[in-house]
Subunit: 116 residues, 2 copies
Amino acid sequence: MTYAKTAAFTANQQQLARVAKALAHPARVAIIQLLASKQTCISGDIAAELPLSRTTVSQHLQELKTLDLIRGEIDGLTVCYCLNTDLLLQVQQQFTAFFIEATSGAACGPADACAC
Amino acid sequence: MTYAKTAAFTANQQQLARVAKALAHPARVAIIQLLASKQTCISGDIAAELPLSRTTVSQHLQELKTLDLIRGEIDGLTVCYCLNTDLLLQVQQQFTAFFIEATSGAACGPADACAC
DNA sequence: AAAGTATGTCGCAAATATACGACATACAAT
DNA sequence: ATTGTATGTCGTATATTTGCGACATACTTT
């Protein structure tokens, strides 16, 4: 296996990377924004709003669903997707903590060895 | 081109996805955390601390550098990397805004059509 | 029952990402 | 000048992602 040495990293790093990967495509960002903006949970309308084929959108939806960031509820013929707000709040905190950690450090102050 | 229809998405969505992609690998998350924790900007020591070959780490560094999330300063034989704190702060705000947008919405309240 | 509609899954093609050895470059030290 | 060290780049193999057409499934409607 010349791939995926993820096992050697922290659980935190892996989790952060996993969620980041879910957001690493504009279509998936757009889907989440769509679900957040629409008051009702839309279904195949999502595909209609995106510049991608229905198949591709369905796959992006499945990816988000696998991570449990969104959930689908079958309602007769259509499927109703909506955000998992609880998980999103957790993820938000995780990202916030990461960014605070990354930005609070003096990170090479003027007295340090290098001057970048 | 059966790939990268990114042009059809918002600049905001693309930017968010671009940064998310940078964080979509545990090694890159680890690199940022390392640079944040070490008071001095380390260089090849980064490679030594990660469970990856020097070559691979170098590539991850280049990726982060391309996005300007980190910067390198040549100091004789070694190269000094450090975080671009300013950009990281911007990115942090962008992510925060996104998560607030995603989590503040009622997102399928009890009165809505579907019950997820 | 038959036809229509909304979704999901499969299979394929092309693009990217990941990982690393081998080589090139650049500076330091002798 | 020659040798050694620290980094970066290139080439390559493999894994994964992306995108979509074609098909399968499930439910609704007539």
